[in-house]
């Protein structure tokens, strides 16, 4: 699957294209298939997201996951500060990153 991601223009936070909008949570990410380039061009123009790009992802039982470690770290947060990740209460969250 193909995922579309970027950073929110105002906050810099990692965002994922849900099919209609942007979300901070990878669980909400939609498979953009072949439509990525067109969405990317439109959304960059809309100025909500900074430097969006298309990545490879895979569907898992827990939802979509980026294929590359870099984007898995982006999806969760720094592996060395679990308290600052998007799932601070889930000690197992780091496992799917690495």
């Amino acid at each position: 699957m193909k995922l579309l991601t970027g950073n929110d223009l105002k906050t810099g936070f990692v965002t994922w294209w849900t099919g209609a909008d942007w979300s901070l949570h990878i669980e909400d990410a939609a498979d953009v298939g072949e439509a990525g380039e067109a969405i990317l061009a439109a959304e960059e123009g809309a100025r909500r997201v900074n430097a969006p790009y298309i990545i490879n992802g895979e569907a898992t039982a827990d939802g979509p996951r980026p294929a590359h470690i870099k984007d898995r770290i982006r999806a969760l947060g720094p592996t060395v500060r679990p308290d600052l990740t998007l799932k601070p209460a889930d000690p197992a969250a780091g496992d799917w990153v690495i």
Binding site: N7, K10, G12, F13, E44, V80
Partner: protein, 543 residues
């Protein structure tokens, strides 16, 4: 310490206004990200993995307590309650919002700080010896020279779109604590015929193609220093490569031209530039130097230290250095607790260090390129009180220059350029070698980790260096041995095939075991490596 006058204030205020306007135009969609990026970078604002990152300049690594407290305030108010001290003596915040950036710069300006030219293809913040003004081996305080360069390089109209970034370091001691020869320009203040002048080493650097800077001019008088620097930069701006980002640093130009030809071109340009009258008069240097006058230290203060507390004694032996004035000492605060994140400090810790500086160190602190903090002027009689306060805040790890005093870049946990994580490797190594007796047995051992080829973690200059690479989507770590960023400057050599995260920790243990078995009396790790070469270590690692 240098204090801003009306002109310095006006310049920084103008920059805050300019950047506020640029942010406004970006958020309003009047400029594209492509146009905004070089502007935000010249104000230290990057877009990293999780958010914007702001890098705040700490000129030549010197701070007072008010400034240090402001760094804590920013961490608390605009970030997530911590900051990261860097190998260029700056501080970085990892969770900054673009819309907050103007307010942060305004807060910084209120304490004579800024983020000017902490990124971008311009002359970056000038770095220096963290023991400047306190070191027993310096011939003078290098910071007035660095401040002169700071002002000259700030908003330099000709050199703000260089082929690539440009880093300058200034030292004035024979011991090099600033990796001077691994900078684009490394300046060592030297003495000739009773006068101080600047020796210019040009074209050093780490990154993809590490180089040790050759000596370009052995003595540039103070009156000519800025003209000479201008000539060095102009030759680079005109002829540095712009066709390939990886070959755009000045080290490549000098390597391709040869040091002699580069020197010839600089000398020719210098003759011309000198006629333009860009060097300030001696009175300006004297005005600056007066602000770096030594603090009033009482040389009759008692020299003895009560070592009855054994934990305190261990810390004194490892982290406290000789001061040039009797009865005083330089306190090195380790930001490398075992298993911690190298260079990170919480707002509370930053505030505490500010308090200690105000109370015990004539209101001065320094940031070191090894990502530690220094209290430069502490009475020996106050050391115990300082240690107790540090110890209570988790800041008294007695590991300065030992194997757990690791330099590590933020790596793939934070950085968008990284290929592998650095911090977890540092944590595992420090944990493996956590026994202090074992660390002390190994002695001075500088271990440096970079998460990509850009070498922010100075791995080329590590006695032991680690470079994280991406091997088909998995993190892999190359090991190198024999580098040094000190006065015995050298570049490390790669041992062979890389390792995974645990494998590299094992490999380091085999290397240190081999060192212990091979060393002769008084040899540091790097000395043994230089004597026996790579072969025995390679044998120990790979069998």
């Amino acid at each position: 310490m240098y204090k801003y006058d009306e002109y310095d204030h006006a310049m920084v205020d103008a920059r805050v206004a300019e950047f506020s306007d640029q942010v406004r135009r970006r958020l309003a969609g009047e400029i594209t990200e492509d146009q905004f990026k070089p502007l935000r970078l010249m104000n230290g604002l990057y877009l990293q993995l999780h958010a914007y990152m702001l890098r705040v300049a700490v000129p030549y690594g010197t701070l007072d307590s008010r400034q240090m407290r402001m760094l804590a305030h920013i961490a608390r108010k605009y970030d997530r309650d911590y900051g990261h001290f860097t190998t260029r003596q700056n501080i970085q915040y990892n969770w900054i919002k673009l819309e907050d950036a103007p307010a942060i710069l305004q807060d910084l300006a209120s304490v004579e700080m800024h983020a000017i030219q902490t990124s971008g293809n311009c002359i970056r913040n000038i770095s220096s010896d963290q023991w400047a003004g306190a070191a027993a081996d310096e011939i003078t305080d290098p910071r007035p020279w660095a401040e002169l360069l700071r002002q000259w390089s700030s908003f330099h109209p000709e050199f703000s779109y260089l082929p690539r970034k440009f880093k300058i370091a200034v030292i004035a001691a024979n011991e090099d604590r600033a990796a001077m020869r691994l900078h684009d320009i490394g300046i060592q203040i030297v003495e000739k015929d009773g006068q101080h002048g600047a020796a210019f080493y040009v074209g050093g650097g780490m990154g993809r193609t590490p180089m040790i800077a050759p000596l370009i001019k052995d003595f540039v008088p103070l009156d000519d220093m800025l003209s000479y620097a201008e000539a060095c930069l102009r030759v680079y701006n005109r002829y540095g490569r712009r066709d390939n980002i990886y070959k755009a640093r000045i080290k490549i130009l000098i390597h391709e031209l040869g040091a002699d030809e580069y020197r010839r071109q600089v000398e020719e340009e210098f003759v011309h530039v000198k006629s333009l009258g860009i060097d300030p008069p001696k009175a300006e240097f004297d005005r600056i130097a007066a602000q770096f006058a030594p603090p009033p230290l009482d040389a009759s203060a008692p020299d003895a230290i009560d070592r009855s507390d054994p934990d305190f004694a261990v810390w004194v032996d490892q982290n406290v250095a000789e001061h040039k004035v009797s009865g005083h000492a330089i306190v090195n605060i380790s930001l490398k607790p075992i298993g911690g994140i190298p260079g990170d400090a919480s707002s509370a810790q930053i505030d505490l260090m500010a308090d200690l500086a105000e109370k015990y160190s004539h209101d001065e602190l320094r940031v070191t390129h090894a990502q530690n903090i220094v209290l430069p002027h502490v009475r020996k009689g106050d050391l115990y009180a300082v240690w107790q306060a540090l110890d209570a805040a988790g800041l008294a790890t007695p590991n300065l220059d030992l194997i757990s005093d690791i330099i590590a870049c933020p790596g793939l946990d934070y950085c968008s350029l990284a290929n592998a994580r650095s911090i977890p490797v540092a944590q595992k190594i420090a944990t493996r070698f956590s026994d202090l007796g074992r660390q002390k047995e190994l002695g001075e051992l500088k271990l440096k980790i970079s998460g990509c080829i850009n070498a922010c973690g100075h791995h080329h200059a590590g006695h032991i260096g680690i470079l994280g690479v991406d091997r088909k989507g998995t993190e892999n770590y190359q090991l190198s041995l024999g580098g040094s960023g000190a006065e015995d400057v050298s570049l490390g050599t790669i041992t062979g095939p890389g390792f995974d995260e645990d494998g590299v920790v094992d490999a380091i243990e085999r290397v240190t075991d081999k060192y212990l078995a091979t060393r002769t009396e008084g040899e540091r790790f790097v000395d043994t490596f230089r004597r026996v070469g790579m072969a025995p270590f390679k044998e120990a690692i790979y069998g």
